[in-house]
């Protein structure tokens, strides 16, 4: 790319935080408190020239297995196994295109894909800059295929699977995992904090609970085109 401006030269800076129920009790309040805290630190982040695109904010919290079990049952009519991990994925194209490759990698790691859920979002919330580069967002529900469950093995296999799937394109702009874990999940995007709840419909559901939530809001653009 000609010129002196290099897109890769961005830097992270922002505000951050964590809301946690010390006793590990899950509630929707932990999520809403986190979102409110993010919103009240909006002045720490930057606003792009379209007035709407932030430089990225997100939420990381412990997976509410019941919530996703219900969602998948209701939306896809699939019953998830008792133990599952969630891979929250940004992908520029249709996931069906790379499904065979993903399945092969999962099989090698003794994992299997139970369901793919298109994460419900409201795109018209986004500013033009974010909209121009917004990917498709999927949740992959992955379970161990071994008969006897071993938590350590499951975690190892998940890590390895993720690394190999990322290597399919080796380019964050095409394929990027926000999270890939049996324990935690990340919802993030190029938007101002006050829009994250509007954008991700899951976050509005009172049934979605968490006991700990971690949140960054960033200043510099990561994927500005």
């Amino acid at each position: 790319m000609p010129g002196l401006y290099k897109k890769e030269d961005f830097k992270d800076n922002c505000g951050f935080g964590l809301v946690s129920n010390i006793d590990g009790i899950k509630s929707h309040k932990v999520i809403t408190n986190s979102i409110n805290a993010l919103i009240s630190m909006t002045h720490r982040g930057g606003v792009g020239s379209d007035g709407k695109t932030g430089d990225g904010c997100g939420l990381l919290f412990d997976i509410d297995h019941d919530y996703f079990r219900n969602a998948v049952s209701k939306e896809l009519d699939i019953k998830l196994p008792e133990i599952f991990a969630v891979g929250q994925l940004f992908y520029n194209n249709k996931i069906e295109d790379i499904l065979p490759e993903i399945n092969k990698i999962l099989k090698n790691e003794k994992l299997s894909l139970s369901a793919i859920r298109k994460v419900p979002v409201k795109k018209n919330i986004l500013g033009k800059i974010a909209l121009d580069c917004s990917p498709n967002i999927y949740q992959l529900f992955i379970s161990p295929s071994e008969k006897v469950f071993n938590e350590q093995n499951f975690d190892t296999n998940l890590l390895q699977a993720r690394k190999f799937i990322e290597e399919i394109f080796f380019d964050d702009e095409i394929l990027y995992f926000c999270s890939f874990s049996s324990k935690t999940i990340v919802y993030k995007g190029l938007m101002l904090p006050n829009a994250i709840k509007e954008f991700y419909l899951d976050l509005q559901h009172k049934d979605l609970t968490a006991s700990s939530c971690v949140f960054p809001s960033k200043v510099f653009n990561q994927h500005e085109s």
Binding site: D12, N13, G15, G17, L18, S40, M41, G45, L159
Partner: protein, 1243 residues
């Protein structure tokens, strides 16, 4: 799994080291780890790489706390009070992993643990609260989840290097103490270290081997010529290091030709320009905050980080990477590891490139054969052979070893003849050297000692030289915000200006290099010429001419001929003389990048009458910031008068300004806010059209400044709120700018206090400045200045002047292109400065994207400066850069006409160029790079320099080429502040008192700034006669009470964030809790970090603890707090601070004025105080009676304002507490005089 606020400074190095070690990462928990293509992101954000690294460690079986401690260790090397076992744990880890260094706060959650940790310097804030529903909220600010005070149980903060961890399965909360205790006991680290690590220093006394021998004179002469050790280097660089352990100081900027353009032989190191931290992370103050810095260096192959064994402790350890002869021998002959010496001399009949490749192969062979210590030797070769330059050798070997995954099995020691000064040594380490033995420097010292040019024993002189180099190294790494040399090693934090792709790819892969230039063939040819000269010519080494102009030496842009011609022109006002001057400059042999570009236009020439007026053009000119202190009052006022008369602007510099000048023709329209915050009061701020935040300056980016005590006379002490005769130090960073969001806060603070002013940010050119400029534009700055590396200075270390920062052409173009790309160009004005001399410079800068232009040295020369470069000695023979009244009176010949002539000449020169190009105004050429093209008839030397990226113009963007906005208004409308002003305005206008109540939240920032600005504008320094009271309930946003004016009294019932009382000048601020928090009051944190920064007066009362850097640069405020973090009262020059509780480390560092009372109940204060400049006294003795009385009154007032429980306890039983108080007094002060200032204030 984590969120990260901050920046990893040495990310390139960290990523390289992960690659280098990757073959050793074996863990049964990740069986396929060796199959991963990439362990850690090579591109993308530094946060994501950090996340990858920590995840890899934890998933691989490393304990979660050991993992984060390994990657972000607290400061352990120089912290006296650290437990020996904890220290051993950290030292053990450091032997196999360097810190991911930088300001950082991380929060993470893995489903069981919720953790928050801060970097060793505490450069990001982390406040937390626990409520009665057992919810903990940790965040960068307090009050993000506001709840009633009565429901809060704990209000705290995380300290530097601290941890807070919640086990959500058991409901337990831990801070770093139990965590470190747990970690230290997991393995016998101390025992392992004791039995296995060899500390080289302690074994030196028993060293039996030979000592350093002097080289034969013949060889020495040949060596100095071959390795370009000019005479001036002996006296100006090596001598000061060997005498005082200090780097040589210089003044004025670097006006030499760039290395790639020079006609002289230049060292390879001259092509490397140092990077430095700017805005997105702060430089560290390596002098005051030395406790966090370390040069410790380890030798030995690294082992698998997933395992812990005593073998991991089998290492050689030295305190510095710069070796003495004895140390070198001890390492080479150690009992653990094999070493191999490899000469860098190669046969003349092969090429340089081939020689390097052969070297790489040879090193790999020996490392594979089990020789971890590789000793490369760069010395005078035998006839018929040539030396590979040390930097090429180190770079090439390091890159090759990283590539094949062997780098962590080897250590590279380089004995170098070419590296003598701190920059050169830093280059070697920055590109991978483990340790450096500066052999020719030592030989030079031996030679100087033998000739009696140096006194003392050669051995001692070498030791002093080493000490100076160590200090210089610490400075270079701290400029980058890095605290340990291990993080700096291999980080490649330089920009290469003038080397071609083949060299960069082989030896310096992934280092920024934007203009190409010399390739291997060129270097090869030059080396042979140099070798012939060194061996054949019997004459002495030449003087050089790099540091100061010498006839026949290097080209200097401000050489005597040009200086004289300019002075003649401005003194006489003759246009013809100016044209002669312009011709000398414009047709000089190419020295700067822009000299390779010529203006070309396809338009027809137009008549001069049609071009915009001289008056219009003059409005685009600023004189650069030069403080009253650096230059004389006469010179300073002359500049201001001239610029004002022209309709342009002068810059106050960072020394404050006498208020008599406000509203007159001598006022500086641009007022600078620099890191020392000297004289920055609300009155100062409202008397400005532009407020400029000086992040860095070209001559010494990333460093602070010093005004030597001899220059601090009565006037300057008054203006700067300090003491006559005491050296004034500007800290390297602004202590309220550690990240882009902090800068946005300061910009907002300034816009509140002076809503009509434009806010400008001054940056120095370096790779990445474009992204920073975009960030600064998003932070709502109105103006951005890009300064080149060649800016001037009153005083600065030579290596900073010569090697730090990049040319402004690159920075300007990068910023302009980046702003356009982000759609922000129309919001900010871009200015360039750095050695501008003629209209042609202005034209070229405009074409590259600037709409405004700064001039520093030029107008100085017009006022009589002869460029003698002795400014730092206060002896300026022309009365310009001195405070000595005799010199000013007898020699200053400057007057405003001469300065006006200078700028008028340039403006008309610009007009002539515009008419040639065929355009009517400057606006028509801004960013229009089609008007510039590389010159056609150039010497071969210049043909390979590639400026196409510089003059690239993106025609596809739908974005302006220059600023079209009147102001860049913040998104935050500041509604509460406006409301307050509206309600209080009448009372202020009619000089009546009033009391108003409001609710406040953390989103209400800079409260008090708007109203203080209003008061200062109306009433000046004295402020309000009848005070007004503003009372708030809730959590106050950042910068509460900033620039507080006299008569404004603020109170918060709740708590506050960072920067309370920033720049406070008068009045009162109270932060208290009417409903006291339910848990222990001694731990309750009520205000954040860096409070009272640059305060010049007023009172602050906080019935709780403060964070880090409380009262840093306080110049006159009084405060009472009940506990503080690290670096309390740093750089204080006035005022008084009373601390009724425990403090953190490094209290009173750099404190030269004011005083403090500290209550030391647990008897730990003595060790926590930095006693470099202060003394401690007890107050319970007879002669301290007046101080006791004063302290009692202070505490009583504190109780009156806050109802503090602690204050009540002290008042009721003062006699019991009396013996526990300390009085902290600067050594420079007289105890008897301390109270005079306070009683004067009280009246």
């Amino acid at each position: 799994m984590l969120a990260h606020n901050g920046e990893i400074n040495a990310i390139q190095g960290n990523r390289n080291w992960v690659k280098a070690r990757s073959s050793k990462f074996i863990t049964p928990l990740i069986p396929k780890i060796q199959k991963f293509k990439q362990l850690v992101n090579d591109t993308g954000s530094d946060s994501s790489s950090l996340d990858n690294m920590i995840e890899l460690l934890i998933k691989g079986g490393v304990n979660i706390f050991r993992a984060i401690r390994m990657v972000m260790p607290p400061a352990w090397q120089n912290t006296q009070s650290l437990d020996a076992d904890i220290r051993a744990f950290h030292e053990y880890n450091s032997m196999h992993m360097e810190p991911w260094d930088g300001p950082a706060g991380i929060v993470m959650s893995d489903g069981k643990w919720s953790i928050c940790m801060l970097d060793r310097n505490g450069l990001r804030p982390a406040r937390y609260q626990i409520d009665d529903k057992n919810i903990i909220t940790i965040a960068s600010e307090t009050g993000v989840n506001p709840i009633d005070s009565k429901n809060i149980i704990v209000k705290g903060r995380v300290q530097p290097g601290g941890i807070i961890a919640i086990n959500t399965q058991t409901g337990e909360i831990f801070n770093e103490n139990p965590i470190d205790d747990m970690l230290k006991d997991k393995k016998p680290y101390r025992k392992w270290l004791k039995e296995n690590a060899i500390y080289i220093e302690s074994s030196l006394d028993s060293y039996e081997g030979p000592g350093l021998k002097q080289m034969p004179a013949n060889d020495f002469l040949k060596t100095t010529k071959l390795f370009l050790l000019y005479k001036e280097e002996r006296s100006s660089v090596i001598k000061p290091l060997a005498v005082d352990s200090q780097e040589g100081t210089g003044s004025m900027g670097d006006d030499t030709a760039l290395a790639v353009m020079s006609k002289m032989h230049r060292q390879l190191y001259d092509f490397f320009r140092q990077q430095f931290a700017q805005v997105t992370n702060p430089p560290i103050d390596s002098l005051r905050e030395v406790g966090v810095m370390s040069l410790e260096t380890c030798f030995g192959p690294e082992l698998n980080i997933y395992e812990e064994s005593e073998n991991h402790a089998k290492r050689l350890v030295t305190t510095s990477p710069v070796l003495s002869y004895k140390k070198l021998q001890s390492i080479i002959n150690n009992s653990y590891f094999n070493s191999k010496e490899i000469s860098l001399s190669y046969d003349r009949n092969i090429s340089l490139e081939k020689a390097i490749k052969n070297l790489q192969k040879e090193v790999v062979k020996y490392v594979k054969a089990g020789n971890p210590i590789i000793h490369l030797v760069e010395e005078l070769p035998e006839p018929g052979k040539l030396p590979i330059n040390a930097l090429l050798a180190v770079g090439g070997v390091h890159q090759e070893l990283v590539k094949i995954g062997l780098r962590s099995d080897a250590n590279i020691i380089i004995s170098s003849s070419s590296a003598r000064d701190t920059h050169q040594i830093a280059c070697l380490i920055g590109f991978g050297a483990t340790a450096v033995y500066p052999t020719l420097a030592y030989q030079t010292i031996l030679d100087l000692t033998q000739r009696n040019e140096l006194k003392g024993s050669p051995h001692e002189n070498c030791a002093r030289y080493r000490k100076g180099v160590n200090k210089g190294l610490l400075k270079i790494i701290s400029k980058m915000g890095i605290s340990t040399i291990s993080s700096y090693r291999g980080s490649q934090l330089f920009e290469i200006v003038g080397l071609d792709k083949d060299i960069v790819d082989l030896c310096f892969k992934n280092t920024t290099s934007r203009v190409k230039g010399r390739d291997f063939k060129d270097l090869d040819k030059e080396l042979r010429v140099l070798d012939d000269y060194a061996r054949s010519n019997l004459s002495d080494m030449s003087v050089g001419g790099l540091l100061k102009y010498i006839h026949g030496g290097e080209y200097h842009a401000y050489n005597p001929e040009i200086v004289k011609k300019l002075q003649d022109a401005t003194a006489t006002g003759l246009e013809t003389t100016y044209k002669e001057y312009a011709h000398l400059v414009d047709s000089r042999p190419p020295a700067m990048l822009r000299d390779l570009l010529e203006v070309s236009s396809s338009h027809k020439k137009i008549d001069l009458k049609e071009v915009e007026s001289e008056k219009n053009i003059l409005t685009r000119f600023d004189s650069a910031g030069m403080s009253l202190g650096a230059i004389s009052p006469k010179a300073h006022e002359t500049l201001a008068e001239a610029m004002n008369a022209l309709g342009a602007r002068s810059n106050s510099g960072e020394g404050g300004e006498a208020s008599e000048r406000y509203g007159t023709s001598k006022m500086s329209k641009i007022k600078q806010v620099a890191s020392g915050r000297f004289g920055v009061t609300p009155h100062y701020l409202v008397n400005a059209e532009v407020l400029q935040i000086k992040i860095a300056q070209g001559a010494k980016p990333g460093e602070g400044g010093q005004l030597p005590g001899g220059k601090v006379n009565k006037l300057i002490a008054k203006l700067r709120y300090s003491t006559q005769g005491v050296t004034l130090i500007s800290p390297p960073p602004h202590h309220d700018i550690y990240s882009i969001e902090d800068l946005a806060q300061l910009i907002y603070d300034l816009k509140e206090v002076n809503p009509r002013a434009l806010v400008s940010v001054k940056l120095v050119s370096e790779p990445g400045v474009g992204t920073i400029a975009s960030g600064v534009a998003k932070a709502y700055a109105d103006l951005i200045t890009i300064s080149g590396h060649d800016g001037g200075t009153g005083a600065s270390p030579l290596t900073s002047i010569r090697y730090a920062g990049s040319p402004w052409e690159l920075g300007l173009a990068e910023a302009h292109q980046s702003l356009r790309n982000s759609g922000l160009r129309h919001k900010v004005r871009l200015q360039a400065d750095g050695g501008m001399k003629t209209g042609l410079d202005v034209i070229k800068a405009a074409i590259l994207g600037a709409e405004s232009f700064g001039f520093g040295t030029g107008p100085m020369i017009a006022m009589g400066c002869k460029y003698l470069r002795i400014c730092h000695l206060n002896n300026c023979a022309t009365g310009v850069a001195t405070q000595r009244e005799d010199l000013i009176k007898h020699h200053f010949i400057g007057d405003k006409e001469k300065v006006m002539n200078y700028f008028k000449f340039i403006a008309n020169d610009v007009r002539r160029h515009l008419s040639e190009i065929g355009v009517e105004k400057i606006e028509d050429i801004i960013g229009q790079t089609q008007y510039l093209e590389k010159m056609k008839s150039l010497d071969k030397q210049y043909q390979s320099i590639d400026l196409s990226d510089l003059i690239y113009k993106d025609n596809s963007l739908n974005e302006s080429f220059f600023c079209t906005s009147k102001k860049n208004n913040p998104w935050d409308k500041g509604l509460l502040a406006k409301k307050i002003l509206k309600e209080a305005k009448d009372s202020i206008d009619n000089e009546k008192s009033i009391s108003l109540d409001f609710r406040i939240s953390n989103t209400d920032r800079s409260i008090g700034g708007l109203i203080s600005g209003y008061v200062a504008k109306k009433y000046g320094e004295p402020g309000l006669i009848n005070p007004i009271n503003l009372n708030f309930a809730g959590s106050a946003g950042q910068s509460f009470g900033c620039w507080n004016a006299n008569g404004i009294q603020l109170m918060v019932d709740g708590d506050a964030n960072d920067y309370v009382g920033k720049g406070m000048n008068g009045g009162r601020i109270v932060i208290k809790n009417e409903t006291p928090v339910l848990a222990s009051n001694e731990e309750t944190v009520l205000v954040g970090n860096t409070c009272l920064y640059g305060a010049t007066g007023g009172e602050l009362y906080v019935s709780g603890r403060a964070g880090e850097r409380f009262a840093v640069r306080n110049s006159g405020a009084s405060a009472v707090i009940e506990g503080a973090g690290d670096h309390c009262c740093e750089y204080m020059t006035g005022g008084q601070v009373t601390v009724l509780g425990s403090v953190g480390a490094n209290f009173g560092a750099g404190m030269t004025g004011g005083f403090a009372y500290v209550l030391d109940e647990d008897k730990s204060f003595f060790d926590k105080c930095n006693r470099g400049l202060v003394n401690l006294e007890r107050i319970h003795t007879e002669e301290m009676q007046s101080h006791r009385k004063h302290l009692k009154e202070t505490i009583a007032e504190h109780y009156k304002q806050t109802n503090s429980v602690k204050a009540k306890e002290l008042i009721e039983d003062f006699d019991r507490f009396e013996p526990y108080f300390w009085l902290v007094v600067p050594a420079a002060s007289n105890i008897q005089d301390l109270l005079k200032a306070t009683t004067a204030n009280a009246a």
